[in-house]
């Protein structure tokens, strides 16, 4: 208020930081040798620690928080540059698309757990509902595929409503146990259900958006061919952008405040007229919808789904992303998902032990930095708004 000029890093510093992060991620994806990756990881950690030590991190963070639109633009440009760089590498583009869709799914979990405090250990199940909806509708009906994604989200929200009664009647750990039970039941149900393909799973048609076949490589001119995964990255990024804006608005409204108040002290919240059930239902439904939409597109991208994709372990991965990233912080999800998805793929040595790694990361995080990698900032209803 006293200083109208934005403090913190200038625009140039923010751009430099984005270039550095993009270059680093690209390097991490390019390097194949295990030693090289370990060196890069160590270098990355050291660079972040050094930047934090000298206050660079705080300044750039503050600068970006003050220029949210710039931050969003830079993030999209970063993804586009990385996509262009790997334009024909199927495997790496698949990883990038997976990260995007997992961020979308964990956005839903973030509304439930991060904002409202409703622990959902069945995230992968609701993701799976989206996947199976996409499989059935895309193979057996002529429903336009963009609607299939929407229906996948609605189905996840609908099936989630089965859990509403037990979740509302229990608190904390007990509600979590209910969702664990659901996650286990869901996978068993898929395995024994022949209509849904049983343990073999189902084939899923590729996305077709008004005649634009997503499973064809993109031919540009004579000798430039882009991997078909680029299609999924583009659509995933658009959906993620919409969901991101939606969750941000939710957070920066009276509703976001209600959700926080219920998480922090539901007795006090009830004494000020908050209808606990109404807001928990709202958050749970919105969360499952987002997770289901992510699942729908994920299934179309993979082309094949089976019950083993939706185990309790997969749900745990989603929860650990929210914990690692910084409970309630939407940008934390991006960072945490990138680490959780890409690290085990690149470090083959730890692939077998990925759950051990996630467990250790979550325990270390909760012990030494319980607010997560990127702690959630205080709510600003309108960023940059200053009282008169």
């Amino acid at each position: 208020m006293n200083d109208p000029r934005p403090r913190g890093g200038g625009l140039i510093a923010c751009i430099v930081a984005t270039i550095a992060v993009t270059a680093y991620v690209i390097a991490l994806l390019v390097v194949e040798s295990q030693i090289g990756i370990l060196i890069l990881l160590a270098g990355g950690v050291a660079a972040v620690l050094a930047a934090a030590r000298f206050g660079v991190l705080a300044r750039v963070g503050e600068g970006l928080a003050r220029r949210e639109n710039t931050l969003h633009l830079l993030a999209v440009v970063g993804v586009v540059v990385a996509t262009a760089f790997f334009h024909e590498d199927h495997f790496i583009l698949l990883m990038m698309a997976t990260v995007i869709l997992y961020v979308l799914a964990t956005l839903g979990l973030n509304v439930q757990f991060g904002f409202t405090g409703v622990l959902n250990f069945a995230g992968a199940s609701f993701f799976g509902v989206g996947c199976y909806t996409a499989a059935v509708l895309s193979m057996h009906t002529a429903v336009p595929h963009i609607l299939v994604l929407l229906i996948g989200g609605l189905m996840a929200a609908l099936i989630g409503s089965i859990l509403l009664l037990p979740v509302l009647r229990t608190r904390g750990h007990y509600a979590a146990v209910v969702t664990i039970a659901f996650a286990l039941l869901f996978k068993t149900f898929l395995e024994v259900n022949d209509v849904l393909g049983g343990p073999q799973g189902l084939r899923v048609a590729g996305m077709n958006l008004f005649g634009w076949e997503f499973n064809d490589n993109i031919q540009i001119g004579e000798n430039l061919e882009l991997s078909f995964y680029v299609n999924y990255i583009v659509l995933g990024l658009i959906l993620l952008g919409l969901a991101f804006a939606f969750v941000r608005r939710l957070e920066r409204s009276w509703i976001g405040l209600n959700l926080d108040a219920i998480r922090l002290d539901d007795t006090a919240a009830a004494c000020f007229g908050l209808n606990i059930a109404r807001w928990k239902i709202t958050a749970f439904t919105i969360g499952n919808f987002l997770t289901g939409v992510a699942g729908g597109l994920y299934a179309m991208m993979l082309g094949f789904i089976a019950p083993t994709n939706f185990t309790f372990g997969d749900s745990l991965i989603l929860v650990s992303i929210v914990l690692l990233g910084g409970i309630g912080n939407v940008w934390g999800l991006v960072v945490a998902t990138t680490i959780v998805i890409i690290l085990p793929e690149k470090l083959q040595a730890i692939q077998e032990y990925r759950f051990l790694l996630y467990g250790a990361m979550v325990i270390l995080m909760l012990l030494f930095r319980p607010e997560g990698l990127l702690p959630r900032p205080l709510r600003r209803y309108f960023p940059g708004w200053q009282p008169r």
Partner: protein
Amino acid sequence: MNRPPPPLLVASDLSKLFGGVVALDTLNLEVRANDILGLIGPNGSGKTTFFNVVTGIYPATSGRVTFDGAEITGFSTQAVYRSGISRTFQRSRLSLPLSVFDNIMVGNHKRLNQGLWFNLVRRGAFREEFEANFEEARTLIRVFDAPLAERMFEAVAGFPMIDRRRIEICRALISHPKLLLLDEPSAGMTHDETSALMDDILEVKARFKDLTIVIVEHEMGVIERITNRCVVLNFGQKICEGTYQEVSRDRQVQEAYLGIE
């Protein structure tokens, strides 16, 4: 002669049992409009239980509560709040990670537009409501402490106890309740802080003419200074009522507090 106004809050034969423990025992109690009523009594005499039963946190075992001419027995906490009663808690129950403004707005729930469409899509209208409420909250908190009004977007966790009490009272006042229940506002504060907070409460009472306050308190100096009437509870029953001077001379009250046989 003017007839006295009807009492704002009436508890008739109100009882609350926790298993075999009788926390409120056929309590009959009236709160007159515009009073600052002190509710006193030894530990475990049922003062906080009375607040919890009135606000709907605990259901009454038997008896009735009427507020402003209408029965509110068995109302949910939400319905009690909407009818115009708000409260503070003995152990401060603010949301520490949230900002001062956020905490106060939780108390304003019934006056804020909670529609999904309004909150998510009509951001221009939302912004107007937000700015109007910010001004109102800032004006209210200035009654307590002007510097605090400049720190509306800081986390409550960073404030000392006296400021937290002020914020908690603002949260209860922002919705313009008819009745304010203060549960031991001096708990955990020094003598000087308590004194400053009582100045604030008297200032609030001077500004909101129609506000009625019930205050549970152990500090007799506080009770003597700010209340115009007192009710003394012991074992869940009313043993005495009157001005502070009257009740402090009462033999039953002295027995309850000092154990005189």
